[in-house]
């Protein structure tokens, strides 16, 4: 089983549900706070056309998202990283909007055994 599965649950009013191993619980609040800060950092860097900063931050987020089981975060960060390499402002802007929205909507459910092993 994958570490987490993200799914749009119609009954949860647009909330995204992510299942995360219960042992991660102490670290998840900081993980979420840091990802939101990074969205702000990337947004500011995009405004300054600083694609290198966007790329670096997105690269770190891609790995962190995957490690924690937030597959959607990892996927969106990968798209932003690739777009930053090519200087694609519009793609970055759109993906940051999606990422910001996702981080606001996501609900975490802690499972006793969701570590993927």
């Amino acid at each position: 089983m994958e570490p987490s599965q993200s799914a749009l649950d119609p009954a949860s009013h647009g909330k995204e549900i992510v299942h995360v191993d219960a042992s991660f619980a102490p670290l998840v609040p900081k993980f979420m706070t840091n990802r939101k800060k990074e969205v702000t950092t990337m947004r500011q860097a995009l405004t300054a056309q600083d694609f290198e900063t966007v790329r670096k931050v997105a690269h770190g987020m891609k790995g962190a998202g995957g490690s924690y089981g937030f597959d959607a975060v990892s996927t969106m960060a990968a798209t932003i990283e690739a777009a930053a390499k090519q200087g694609l402002s519009k793609t970055i802007d759109e993906e940051l909007t999606s990422l910001d929205s996702y981080l606001e909507r996501v609900d975490v459910i802690f499972d006793e055994d969701a570590s993927g092993v």
Partner: protein, 139 residues
């Protein structure tokens, strides 16, 4: 501190080279829960400094992209440092570029894990790698 020392004595040290703090915290949490002691370097320079200060660890978890020295340079530093030549190295990367994977394995890494596989898989493969090394040493 006392607990860390006890774990080092019992299970050895894992050197974790990872610049993303949340990822490092998660890997550390997982490994310490299974009784391993973790020494963490946040970038390439710090990793090299730590390598001067500690005995060869039980394993190295090496991020491919870290500031100052990249994973390839760090792997070379590990493989050429006296006493560290046989230390098992697992590359843990956000990237899955086939060329990078093949080059890392060719240049002496024992395994290559993509972070999106999750920390549980990282931990599982680390245990497998250590078991294989133990069997190799016993043979």
């Amino acid at each position: 501190m006392r607990k860390q020392k006890e774990q080092e004595k019992k299970n050895g040290v894992v050197l974790l080279i990872e610049d993303e703090q949340d990822t490092a915290d998660l890997i550390r949490l997982h490994l310490e829960k299974s009784g391993m002691a973790v020494v963490h370097a946040r970038d390439g320079r710090q990793a090299v400094n730590i390598m001067e200060d500690i005995a060869p660890p039980r394993a190295v978890l090496l991020d491919l992209v870290v500031p100052y020295l990249n994973g390839f340079e760090l792997l070379k530093a590990i493989r050429t440092k006296p006493g560290w030549e046989q230390v098992p190295v697992m590359v843990v990367s956000g990237d899955s570029d086939k060329g990078d994977i093949e080059r890392m394995l060719r240049e002496g890494a024992n395994d290559y894990i993509v972070k999106s596989w999750g920390v549980g898989v990282i931990h599982h493969r680390l245990r497998q790698m250590l078991e294989q090394v133990s069997k190799g040493q016993a043979a």
